[in-house]
């Protein structure tokens, strides 16, 4: 029987010759992830049921990235729970302040996820690793607890949507515009319970960072996972990051897809999702100049990688952040931070009047490092613009690429970077 790329990985991990959509299976995991918000409840469940040992200390990944550096006493307490547990269990991939980065940028960077792997994480954006041709999906804390014990999880084999890409992006258009366009096309539940598989000759024109951004937001269409075929760009990225073996899976040519969408990358425009759902995707219009903004955030697991900062720096170089706009740049990991210093981006940001923060999820989920007051409006490279997501319930988030965000920071209104 023909299988999608996702189904092939799941069959291998379930030890079955084939799987079909709708089938309930149990798979072996190559990694189990949690952060400072989701790991403490998992630890509590783990202990409550009398478990004493994780299944493999090298396959549990604990990242203190959400409310760190500790935003208040309670957040500090949550981190402490994770720290003590990780020490007790000798978790080898425990990342604290100084080493930590935003989980979905950090794990690939550290070589902890490889093509063909299967990873679950107690964080909805765990689907990011599909960029590397791995199966990965978000779960809750109890699922994390069970997986820490057994090294396995249960899943329903998903159906799939296929997105055939052709052409290449215009200047100032990239992965973020593509995924916002797709979510606008299919809606926030358009891929509910399903895989989103990307294919076509246009895939080679997506950098690995573009692919991370696209796979990252599969969950914003309700998707179980988003996944890219493995090519030279993938292999170049993973080179030197891990000694572990990896496996390349490909969809069968005659695999069944519930729907196939053809997308011409060259036809895409800078795309912004207006409040308060990621599906409210819009392209540049005259009204953008009327949308005054108070804050810009450039960072997150969606767009905090080095190429994102390079784009922002290209726009901010020699320019100034508009008066009355706070521009917050958050390199996703320590390595990204260091590279942004070496390449001069950090200096460009500071000279432009932006602030550069330590790696953290912070403002994306209204945690800290840039909360919005009532009536305030942000253009943000993050992934969600739900009511109250970045602060007050009467604040607004416009989701955008680093190019649109940086251009908006300069203009003080929502801005198409092509017009700056």
């Amino acid at each position: 029987m023909s299988m999608t790329m996702t189904q092939k990985i799941l069959a291998a991990k379930a030890g079955l010759p084939e799987v079909k959509s709708g089938q309930l299976i149990e798979i072996a995991l190559d990694g189990v992830l949690g952060n400072d918000v989701t790991t403490p409840p998992a630890i509590s469940e783990f202990k409550k049921y009398g478990f004493t040992k994780v299944f493999d200390k090298d396959k549990i990944f604990v990242t203190l990235d959400h409310f760190t550096p500790n935003k208040d006493i309670k957040a500090a307490g949550q981190c402490k729970i994770c720290r003590i547990f990780s020490r007790e269990q000798e978790i080898s991939n425990f990342f604290d302040v100084g080493e930590v980065g935003i989980e979905h940028a950090l794990l690939p960077e550290k070589g902890l996820v490889l093509p063909g792997g299967a990873v679950i994480g107690a964080d909805s954006h765990t689907c990011t690793y599909g960029a590397l041709g791995a199966f990965s999906t978000g779960v809750g804390s109890t699922d994390m607890a069970a997986a820490m014990v057994s090294g396995k999880t249960w899943l329903k084999v998903p159906e799939a949507l296929r997105f055939d890409l052709k052409g290449s992006f215009k200047k100032w258009v990239g992965g973020k515009d593509l995924i916002l366009h797709i979510i606008g096309l299919i809606g926030v539940d358009g891929a509910l319970y399903k895989s989103m598989e990307f294919s076509g000759e246009g895939v080679k024109n997506l950098s690995i960072d573009d692919r991370f951004t696209v796979a990252n937001m599969a969950i914003e269409a309700g998707g179980k996972n988003g996944i890219f075929p493995v090519d030279e760009i993938t292999l170049e990225y993973i080179k030197g990051r891990s000694e572990r073996p990896y496996e390349i899976f490909r969809a069968d040519p005659d695999a069944g897809y519930e729907a196939v969408y053809e997308i011409d990358l060259s036809a895409l425009e800078p795309t912004v999702s207006f409040p308060s759902l990621p599906e409210n995707a819009k392209t540049p219009a005259a009204e953008w100049d009327e949308i005054k903004i108070d804050q810009v955030v450039i960072g997150s697991c969606t767009n905090g990688r080095i190429s994102d900062l390079a784009t922002a720096a290209e726009i901010l170089k020699g320019r100034k952040v508009a008066k009355n706009v706070r521009c917050i740049v958050i390199p996703a990991t320590q390595a990204v931070y260091l590279e942004s210093i070496r390449k001069g981006y950090a200096q460009i940001f500071v000279e432009a009047g932006a602030v550069v923060s330590a790696p953290t999820c912070g403002p994306c989920l209204g945690g800290h490092m840039g909360i919005l007051a009532e009536g305030e409006r942000a253009v943000s490279t993050t992934n969600r613009n739900f009511v109250g997501r970045m602060g007050h319930i009467k604040s607004e988030v416009y989701l955008a690429s680093p190019a649109v965000a940086a251009a908006s920071a300069v203009a003080g209104v929502l801005k198409n970077p092509c017009e700056l």
């Binding site: 918000v37 989701t38 409550k48 057994s150 009511v387």
Partner: protein, 167 residues
């Protein structure tokens, strides 16, 4: 298992950020979380809800973040069941894992209105809408999930050791 209560009605795409805003995720204590349940969509929800009451919503309930704090807050608030046309997949798992009853039913979601008085018989698979004199059938969970539910959640179901049962 049976439950009864009156209905709180919500729309489509109720995300976990409005179910329990991230600013309260510095704890996972159900008693603290429940105080802020649905706060960003209905600030008085926790004052109005009575034990056993039922949430009915449209499609994609619980979308967004994976925070298990969302079903925990709903359960701790006293909600006995969430009925929706569809659930976001992580919320669906989380609800089963922590023992919050959920029902996916387009018919029930479309017909149930705010304030309706419901009686739900999970064993017989029937929702009775006493206000409207209607009955809606509930599709049973797959046996594997019934097993998790019967054991009181995912952790008790693996606590005996070995593989997750039923697969």
């Amino acid at each position: 298992m049976q439950t009864k209560g009156s209905v709180y009605r919500f729309g489509d795409n109720i995300d976990t950020d409005v179910i329990i805003p991230a600013r309260y995720l510095t704890t996972f204590d159900p008693e603290q979380l429940k105080l802020h349940c649905m706060e960003d969509i209905d600030p008085d929800f926790i004052k109005k809800i009575a034990p056993g009451d039922i949430i009915a919503a449209g499609k994609n309930f619980g979308c967004g973040s994976s925070r298990e704090h969302a079903p925990i807050a709903i359960k701790a608030a006293g909600v006995s069941c969430v009925i929706a046309e569809s659930f976001a997949r992580i919320f669906y798992r989380n609800a089963i894992n922590i023992g919050l009853p959920i029902i996916e039913s387009r018919e029930a979601s479309e017909k149930i209105r705010a304030g309706d008085s419901l009686y739900i018989d999970f064993d017989k698979g029937i929702i009775t809408n006493k206000t409207r004199g209607e009955e809606y059938k509930i599709a049973p969970f797959p046996p594997f999930l019934q097993n998790i539910i019967a054991k009181g959640g995912l952790m008790p179901s693996i606590a005996g050791g070995g593989a997750i049962n039923g697969l």
